[in-house]
């Protein structure tokens, strides 16, 4: 069974600063995908960024980037030039490439951007 751990329940940062959210996971699978989802107060889960385990290059999407360390089973999210609209719950999630196509989520990190 896969597990996803987010050790930071809450974080806050000043607007325009950079913040890094941590995520570790445990799996015996070799092929899988990792995601960061954002959940604002509107409740909808929004995909922020994805990483394919077989790719060594870290994924980037505009101000969002990841540090993927496969051997350490670590997958952190860096948000640069943070904006007020980044305030939300952030969930790290894992899915195996084959078999039961379920997302396994962490418990989330509540991020607050301070004006």
């Amino acid at each position: 069974a896969q597990t996803v751990t987010q050790s930071q329940p809450e974080m806050s940062v000043q607007e325009a600063e950079t913040v890094t959210l941590s995520c570790t996971y445990d799996t015996s699978e070799n092929n899988y995908y990792l995601f960061w989802y954002k959940q604002p107060p509107s409740r909808q889960m929004i995909l922020v960024i994805r990483q394919e385990a077989y790719k060594q290059q870290n994924a980037t999407e505009n101000r969002f980037s990841v540090n993927f360390q496969k051997a350490a089973k670590s997958f952190s999210l860096k948000i640069s030039d943070s904006q007020l609209g980044d305030t939300a719950m952030y969930f790290c999630a894992f899915i195996a490439s084959f078999g039961n196509e379920k997302l396994t989520f962490g418990t989330g990190t509540r991020l607050t951007i301070i004006p």
Binding site: Q44, F105, T107
Partner: protein, 113 residues
């Protein structure tokens, strides 16, 4: 294009009652999954359907059931409601494989009293 739509948005039920939640996936998406998100926790997988067949089931009791219709919309049914079933129920859809992640709806907030 419309995203994943769920109905109703909010629902209050009494213990022991039955509830049906509905989900319409993004046009062209054939896979629908259901997740339960209890307050303060990450979503937990309940079911996945693809082409009207059940592809996966999470660790939930038999009181939970689901189905997918020919137009790929889906229903989640919960019988004999318990207080602990109070949660946000999220529906997610994807085209075929999930390597690009799921697109989620805004959820149905179920309160059992």
């Amino acid at each position: 294009d419309a995203g994943v739509t769920q109905s109703p948005t909010h629902l209050i039920k009494t213990r022991g009652q039955h509830v049906t939640l509905r989900c319409s996936p993004i046009s062209g998406h054939k896979s629908v999954s259901w997740y339960q998100q209890v307050l303060g926790q990450g979503p937990q997988f309940i079911f996945q359907y693809y082409e009207k067949e059940e592809r996966g089931r999470g660790n939930f009791p038999d009181r939970f059931s689901a189905r997918q219709f020919p137009n790929y919309s889906s229903e989640l049914n919960v019988n004999a409601l318990l207080l602990g079933d109070s949660a946000l129920y999220l529906c997610a859809s994807s085209e075929t494989t999930v390597n690009y992640g799921y697109t989620f709806g805004s959820g149905t907030r179920l309160t059992v009293v």
